[in-house]
Symmetry: C2
Subunit: 332 residues, 2 copies
């Protein structure tokens, strides 16, 4: 290209600024070095605890991913393939790892322990400040049922967060069964239940109360369910509400010395339908967003051909990094 | 899900085997640990040489990537976005890094040195044994023209290969200008030239001779061009053919003590049109495929708004890993 041509190209064809798609970004060297440092430490914690790192394809058959349910229908990227099949961009790592475990480890003695660090992709709504692509680091523990599996996962999560350099954090722990049973006991089912659960998902307390009030539930149940939505605390809360499964978990966490890192949140409902028991989210005063989350999904792996109880969590590595930086700056 | 339901699901809905798309694969723990080891060593070589690791989005606007030319038109994955724009899955890392350098480093003092490790995606033809997704590790050196830039890149490539554990390899080095000039001197232009270059790309010597014979080129030029297609050797070859630019490069490589790792290949033509000078490919007796390649692309960064001479190479990390394993097994 002559310099005249390139000037013409520069003037006529090159936009003043060249944007990347909203919700994606370049990672520049200083940040990248810090992300490598944090992720290296985290992966070391995982592998030293016996979790083997794996990677799954970024593109999988939509048909395969649909075996997991329809949670992803709206926000998954569909990619037409040359042979007419529809591929999807990896939406999370739990579903592909469930597929991998049920097929590649069909005959392996449980428990199976895997960790990963890979990107996931979400077809975001334009104009919302969401991420289209983000880097997750996480684990899946297959074949170890509640509460032993839940406790191992929470202990590991505490180790990973500490080793990443984060000092101030809380792991909110709930139980989707407990909440569902309380709704069932109150006689809230079907479409009513879905609406109530949705408001709980989005933590819209006003909406939650509105949807509860729209049901024919009695005064005592109404008050009890309203209390549940804001009930956070330690073992005394679990005992007051009769959350038997979480009480068993709390005993294991206390034995492991990590109970102080946990706050029970009986209104915690994760947005994916495959969860079947304990669920968790990670919070830090240094971050306006949860740093990660996870839970028990005892029916998912079976949909790919092998029945295995399972628990997994993932951390958003970029949010975790920002929280660590914010702590360091506040302390400096 | 009751156990009865899950049995039904297992029997009725779950295929006997659940395939991943051809050309993609799961990476299991043993291999993953070795890939981490090799890539960790390679990234360390890069960063210690002053190359800052960066990452670019997996999804970019097709319009932006098209500024680089139309090389990618056929085999790029297009992903329709919710707002009607068309996104493309990262096809290579050189073009996004050219964009990044021209925009995020618009005013930075050259040379700029970047390295990366990220996947690229290719919409392969069904039934061909090609990869749909593969992991590349590589570098881009911007703002250092030939031959100083070429020499720095080749030296670094030798260090990365050695540090990865590979002992037996050759870097084939050619010059797309030299080949193009020889065609021009022989009067081969336009569509004839394209056909000849295509056969050279694909290393189809029969087709190459056929296309040359179909031109009106004289006997002496014909013999000279046929010789060029199979001309491989050291400095004596460059001198015999009068490859001035490569002679200058060879002197720098000899000074740096890496000339023995190089074999000049005057018929080497890389498949991407953005190359403007020295090009290279990496071969090992332990691999049936090139382990990587690269070259000089002095006009590409300018298309994104900043004129910068540039050289880059990438290695296919999985092929490199397999070659290292094969060497170890042969030696064991």
């Amino acid at each position: 290209m002559s310099s005249e041509e390139s000037t013409r190209l520069g003037g006529a064809s090159v936009p003043e600024t060249i944007p990347v798609p909203m919700g994606t970004r370049d990672v520049l060297p200083e940040e990248m070095a810090e992300l490598r440092e944090i992720s290296g430490r985290a992966l070391k914690v995982f592998t030293q605890a016996g979790y083997g790192e794996i990677a799954t394809p970024a593109l999988e058959y939509e048909e395969t991913m649909r075996l997991a349910g329809t949670d992803f229908a709206e926000n998954v990227y569909r990619v037409p393939d040359k042979d007419g099949q529809v591929l999807t961009l990896r939406f999370d790592s739990t579903v592909p790892i469930a597929r991998l475990a049920a097929t590649r480890y069909r005959a392996a003695e449980p428990p199976l322990r895997f960790c990963y660090m890979q990107h996931v992709y979400r077809a975001i709504e334009p104009k919302r400040a969401e991420s289209r692509q983000f880097l997750q680091i996480g684990m899946e523990l297959l074949g170890l049922p509640a509460q032993a599996g839940d406790a191992e996962a929470v202990e590991l999560l505490v180790s990973v967060l500490r080793e990443s350099g984060l000092t101030d954090f809380k792991i909110a722990v709930g139980d989707v069964n407990f909440f569902a049973e309380r709704l069932a006991t109150a006689g809230i089912t079907g479409a009513e239940k879905e609406r109530v659960v949705h408001e709980m998902h989005t933590r819209d307390l006003v909406g939650y109360r509105r949807e509860l009030a729209a049901t024919s539930v009695g005064k005592a149940d109404l008050e009890s369910l309203e209390r549940l939505a804001i009930a956070r605390g330690g073992r005394e809360l679990l005992e007051a509400e009769g959350a038997e499964q979480l009480i068993k978990l709390d005993s294991l966490l206390a034995e492991a010395g990590v109970a102080d890192n946990v706050i029970y949140d009986l209104g915690l409902v994760r947005p994916l339908s495959y969860y079947t028991g304990t669920v968790l989210e990670v919070f830090s005063p240094s971050s306006g967003f949860p740093l990660g989350g996870g839970g028990r999904y005892d029916n998912l792996v079976g949909r790919f051909g092998r029945e295995l109880a399972a628990f997994g969590f993932s951390l958003n590595l970029e949010r975790l990094h920002l929280a660590v930086l914010a702590e360091q700056e506040a302390g400096a």
